[in-house]
Symmetry: none
């Protein structure tokens, strides 16, 4: 079943406000197996709302409006919906009575303006609002359910909750949508897609079809799986099998099948193996250490870090030879290796990880353009070093570089296990 | 003029994701006097996108799509728009060439799948993407401008900025909404509100009324001013006067009246005065150094940083006496002062700044609860130290602490001038 959500209000069309009602509504609809296929925010205007409703009627089984049910002339959701459905508005005497009682309880007469809130499009059912003056309205039109709810969350939420448990729950027989996110790093989106495409083409036509979306964020590609199932246990069986299949195809590129970030995965691995780590950073300027120490409990495996922005700091803090810096430049594999070994030795840790690079916007050369990054890892008796190039500005380059360094640690620990 | 924004992507129809691209786009459109009348999020589905476009064509002068221009079969914006406008898709050889060059720079062949990104609906103009593989597309149809932009903000923003300055700026003859953001730090929202409330009550009824909003973010309270004016110069006169009034009332609490972040303001001050700085961090784990080095050109004033997570690192890297750590504890004013002096001496810089604290969730005591942070600054012949307490989890505490340290540097430099 497919739902569409329409939030009404010009104030949500400014540069610093977002509609959050739809997140609650989506969550509640998903739990009973109803998918949200579109949502919109429209200004307080009858034409705009009517147009959006007519479009929604062509594609959704459940249409939820929030907002625009207040008493002022700005509030036009009732009128717009009645117009679009071609029905008149009638004043509902029961609602008038309820409003008058509500105002009387507060010791004031009902303002004339509030009579508008008792207008009901013919054929609609009134939903009592326990927390405010705007009643909700509910239609069923040729198999489509249309709900009009007030905008304030503390009025909308209990009203919608009642609707989900009552009217809407029956529509899908208790089925729900269950999700899982699989996170990968170290390979570009198109490569991931190539590997998983044949798998999820098969899933889409399975008896319990799994919907998949690929989401690319800097340094990380996520696969979002969603399955429709009768309950959590059933969903878990399907999602576990799907996760296993993806894990087999992607190998170590897959770093999490739960909500953990890369720094948490690496932290958990270090803690389980009781290993200590120290960092030496140039272009990332402390971001790698900061991400490692974002994780609660990281003082059990992070010993120290240094940010050696100047060449002098690289020599003094890490023992990188002056001659090496002169010969190869600060952004080079020998220097990255010397940084990793230097921090490991001086900190006395199991692992030393180092990053040097050109974050930009200046400092690039044809041989080493902006975005060139060298990461290195040192452990007992050996090192590994890689030169990489990342696109974008200073901050994405810093993030990508820290992600590559974390991933180098993770892959090393995986290999060390095998 | 009326605009509609359509964000494409099933992942934004889940209970925990919102579209934020539309906020940036709204802000830029408002600046040139274009109002956003509706915005929507639609799943990756040709039918849905085509329907929304056909509706938008009946009511908007500018239609902006974001997302769905990637290389995978999920990415259907190109196809949906071509369908709805009734034009075929042609492969653009120039775009193919540009994509191949981009992949070649990274030393990999272009995956076959990326050819899809070179498909151009006939009649559309290609907008080069400097930061990713998905080119933008631009149509003009009977007075309506339709722009298709990539979803990732760092690709979309520069592309849209270019479009606003170029193609769209002429449409409205300059009349627009002009905004300014004033940023403060070091005082709570309620104190800021008390000072500015009487001022902006007066503004609201002025001949050129200024709308104001207070926005509280961690470690920072912002005042957002908006004024409607015929052109930039007119708006600037009104906003400059308003800014002057607020600056007078808030003094050094106001740190920026432009878009600069606190680390940029501090960076500019250090560069102008040709001063060098070095950092010593415990609980912030490198965040302070990372923020300082987020600023392009920061290698001209950041010499080094150390993250001394263990007590041993505090002694070895900064010369904090063992006895002092034992007597006062790592989170104490003597230790913070010794850290600031230690890093300044060893790095040979003008300033040394240090942070030690308890970021949590564990490690708190009744005398030093989670959120206790000590920041210290050392300069030639003197130091300053402050003990603070911040609410929240580990990450907000880290951010607040780095903000307080940056602000201590800023206020010191202001005073040193006076």
């Amino acid at each position: 079943m497919r739902a569409e959500i329409i939030a009404v209000g010009s104030e949500m069309l400014t540069p610093d406000r977002v509609d959050t009602n739809s997140l609650f509504i989506t969550d509640r609809l998903n739990t009973i197996g109803i998918d949200v296929i579109a949502k919109s925010v429209a200004a307080d205007d009858r034409g705009l709302l009517g147009g959006q409703l007519r479009l929604a009627l062509t594609r959704a089984d459940v249409i939820v409006f929030t907002g625009g049910l207040g008493p002022t002339s700005d509030d036009v959701t009732r009128e717009a919906v009645a117009d679009a459905l071609g029905v008149p508005l009638d004043e509902d005497p029961l609602t008038i009575e309820r409003l008058e009682r509500r105002f009387a309880r507060r010791g004031v007469p009902m303002p004339a303006i509030n009579r508008r809130q008792a207008l009901v499009p013919r054929g609609a059912e009134v939903i009592v609002n326990e927390y405010g003056t705007a009643p909700g309205l509910l239609f069923e039109r040729g198999g489509t359910v249309i709900a009009l709810l007030p905008g304030p969350p503390r009025e909308m939420k209990p009203m919608f909750e009642g609707l989900v448990r009552g009217r809407l729950a029956g529509l899908t027989g208790g089925w729900g949508i269950f999700r899982r996110v699989l996170k990968t790093t170290g390979r570009p989106e198109s490569q991931i897609e190539e590997v998983v495409q044949p798998i999820y083409a098969r899933w889409a036509s399975a008896p319990a079809p799994i919907q998949t979306t690929i989401l690319a964020t800097p340094g990380q590609i996520e696969l979002h799986l969603a399955v429709c199932a009768a309950n959590d246990a059933e969903a878990r069986v399907v999602l576990d099998a799907a996760t296993g299949e993806i894990a087999g195809a992607l190998g170590p590129t897959l770093f999490a099948t739960d909500t953990r970030r890369l720094e948490e995965v690496v932290g958990d691995m270090l803690r389980e193996r009781t290993l200590w780590i120290a960092t030496a950073e140039s272009c990332t300027g402390g971001l790698l250490a900061s991400r490692l120490t974002d994780v609660p409990g990281s003082s059990a495996y992070v010993e120290r870090g240094v940010v050696c922005y100047s060449n002098r700091a690289k020599t003094e803090l890490l023992g990188v030879p002056d001659a090496m810096l002169r010969e190869h430049g600060a952004v080079s594999e020998p220097v990255a290796r010397a940084m990793a070994c230097g921090i490991r030795e001086r900190a006395g840790t199991d692992l030393g990880v180092a990053i040097t690079g050109i974050a930009g916007p200046s400092g690039g050369t044809p041989a080493k353009p902006v975005g060139t990054v060298v990461v290195a890892l040192a452990w007992a008796g050996a090192e590994r070093v890689r030169t990489l190039w990342f696109p974008g500005d200073r901050e994405p380059v810093k993030f990508h570089a820290s992600q590559a360094a974390l991933d180098m640690v993770r892959r090393h620990l995986l290999k060390a296990d095998g």
